[in-house]
């Protein structure tokens, strides 16, 4: 065993001891909870599509929901109001502004996740999954990322390639 490996082994042993000590001192008061019991809160959608719920929607349905529940803040045609513009915008975001779904958002799953957890701003979690799929399809189609007739569901949404996805650089890769 090299000195380096020895040192590593000693370090691992010390780590195991300290973790063991910490565990021994823990009162262990966490209450086991089943997947079924935490389902209502389990709403994170991962960029690979993990945890997308059943259901589907198209832009035409989403347009109706948008007109009813979103225009008050996001404006007619999603061009912005007291809340951000969500349709259209400049071709490229700069420090003067202009981050849009079409030119900036790296993952389409984020559109679904954010609408479902945070929108409408006055009544989040009030939309059905079907409505969220339809709104997601509407925003992606209106921003010309997908076609007007493309159906969004758990299989199609993660496959949508957002135009700006590969343009991001990680500031401190060693910290991840």
């Amino acid at each position: 065993m090299s000195m380096r490996k020895l040192a590593l082994a000693a370090g691992m042993a010390a780590l195991a001891l300290s973790v063991g000590a910490a565990l021994a001192e823990s009162p262990h008061l966490g209450k086991p909870i089943t997947q079924a019991d935490l389902a209502e809160w389990d709403i994170n959608i991962l960029p690979d599509g993990t945890n997308l719920p059943p259901g589907s929607g198209k832009a035409a349905d989403g347009a109706k929901i948008f007109a009813e529940k979103c225009v008050a803040c996001h404006g007619e045609g999603g061009k912005g109001g007291i809340a951000a513009r969500v349709i259209g915008g400049p071709p490229k975001a700069t420090l003067d502004g202009g981050k849009t779904i079409a030119n900036y958002w790296p993952y389409a799953t984020t559109v679904f996740d954010f609408i479902r957890r945070s929108m409408p701003w006055t009544q989040p979690r009030s939309l059905t999954d079907q409505e969220v799929y339809a709104l997601t399809a509407y925003l992606l189609a209106a921003n010309k990322v997908i076609g007007e007739d493309d159906e969004m569901n758990a299989a199609t949404l993660p496959k949508v390639k957002m135009p700006n996805r590969d343009n991001f650089v990680i500031r401190f890769p060693d910290r991840i």
């Binding site: 823990s26 809160w41 991962l46 984020t110 701003w121």
Partner: protein, 438 residues
């Protein structure tokens, strides 16, 4: 006192335009008093004190003692500035008045906050924290059960990733220090290391991230690398000794020393352990920035080494020439502050500031520098180094890497994030302090 005026100046001045030896104030009050008299004859030592009299408050008993005390009514201007008072979508920001504070601890009522949809009124008896995902056993905790765990306390800063955003402007924006740098504060946080709770749940060795979620109506989520979580993440329940106030995430928040404020999820209710980041709205759309080369930067996380002079600063004008103490704050999300240099001639010459104790990692460090203002125009700057050797960039260096706007943005806007370059205060012969680029 036997030294000539010439001697005093040569001993004490350590950089141009009147920066004095940082030990001067401590070493010899007599000598400094001499310097005041020498430099500003008649202005500070000329007028005699008035005869003393009993004040009204010395002649009768005072007010009853309140159960929870508040600052003097004469200090009622020492408050946060709050925007979006109509409560529209887009959030509300309350900024810390650094120019009116000393030391390193931000009082709880003055700690900055950003709310994306108001402050929820959470009943701690109903609040739950769930840990699930890539763990052996999903677990649920309550504030009451967490109170049985061994807690740690740590003093550290919390800074919004968008703090200092007005300095991305292509022209210096005239505003108070509070408006420019007020989205940063420092407190003692006490809580349970999140690592202890994750250990209890049993983390899958293949896990790499957590996704933390708040219980307020936006259900705000942020992804945090598991390595950071296991290093020093805390489920914080106390701030400066008392329970965290609702505006800071009552009854519990995630606290990540040195990492951008938005990741320190308030009202923490859920931690999902994953093998990938969630690419949530705030980490993919908001706290990301276009770069001059056409790329975009993501997962910045760390608030890099930074400093600014709190006094003098815009609004704190100088009444007359004489000796002043330049005072400011330095901090780094990577560790302790090692050194702060101050310049009174726009960066041409520098002198080392005194660092007050305690000097803690990932916490505000207060620096001071005695300064004799001769009444001429000058530009004050501070520049910090951290213990890892990282140095605060000049604005020119920063703009080369990160860019600037093409037209001045709204002072409350967020053209970019993680601005940490040198801040410059211009002092006019009238003593007026303005924000300048130098």
């Amino acid at each position: 006192m036997s030294k000539s005026r010439q001697d005093l100046s040569s001993i004490q001045q350590v950089a141009a335009n009147g920066l004095l030896d940082r030990r001067a104030l401590l070493r010899s009050g007599v000598m400094l008093a001499g310097a005041v008299g020498a430099g500003t004859a008649g202005t500070l030592t000329g007028a005699a004190a008035e005869p003393l009299a009993e004040a009204p408050w010395s002649q009768h008993p005072g007010d009853p003692v309140a159960p929870y005390q508040h600052p003097s009514r004469f200090e009622d201007y020492v408050v946060r500035t709050v925007d979006n008072t109509k409560g529209e979508p887009g959030g509300t920001r309350a900024r810390t008045p650094h120019q009116l504070l000393k030391g390193i601890i931000t009082p709880n009522g003055l700690h900055f906050t950003i709310m994306h949809a108001g402050i929820p009124d959470i009943d701690p008896a109903q609040h739950k924290l769930v840990i699930h995902g890539m763990v052996k056993q999903p677990l649920m905790f309550t504030p009451e059960t967490l109170s049985r765990y061994s807690m740690v306390s740590r003093i550290g800063f919390t800074e919004c990733g968008g703090n200092s955003a007005p300095l991305f402007s292509n022209e210096p924006i005239q505003a108070t220090l509070q408006a420019l740098h007020g989205l940063s504060s420092c407190a003692e946080w006490t809580g349970v290391p999140l690592a202890a709770l994750l250990d209890e749940a049993g983390v899958d060795p293949k896990a790499k991230w957590i996704i933390a979620e708040g219980a307020d109506s936006p259900h705000l989520t942020r992804s945090v690398p598991l390595a950071k979580v296991m290093d020093d993440a805390m489920v914080a329940m106390y701030q400066n000794g008392e329970r965290i106030q609702p505006g800071q995430g009552y009854p519990m928040r995630l606290w990540l020393p040195g990492y951008e404020g938005n990741m320190n999820v308030k009202f923490l209710r859920r931690v999902q352990v994953t093998d990938q980041p969630g690419m949530t709205y705030y980490e993919s759309r908001i706290y990301t920035d276009p770069l001059p080369d056409g790329k975009d930067t993501q997962f910045y996380f760390v608030n890099e080494v930074k400093s600014f002079i709190t006094s003098p600063s815009p609004g704190l004008d100088l009444k007359e020439p004489g000796v002043y103490e330049i005072s400011g704050i330095a901090y780094s999300g990577s560790g302790r502050i090692a050194k702060v240099m101050v310049s009174a001639d726009a960066g041409k010459s520098w002198a080392q500031a005194a660092l007050q104790e305690p000097r803690l990692p990932k916490a505000f460090t207060r620096f001071t520098m005695p300064w004799r203002w001769d009444g001429g125009p000058t530009i004050l700057q501070s520049r910090a180094w951290d213990e890892g050797g990282a140095v605060q960039p000049t604005r020119e260096q920063f703009v080369a890497l990160r860019g600037q706007t093409t037209k001045p943005p709204n002072v409350g806007g967020f053209p970019g994030h993680h601005f940490n370059a040198i801040t410059s205060w211009g002092v006019s012969p009238k003593g007026e302090v303005k924000h300048v680029y130098a």
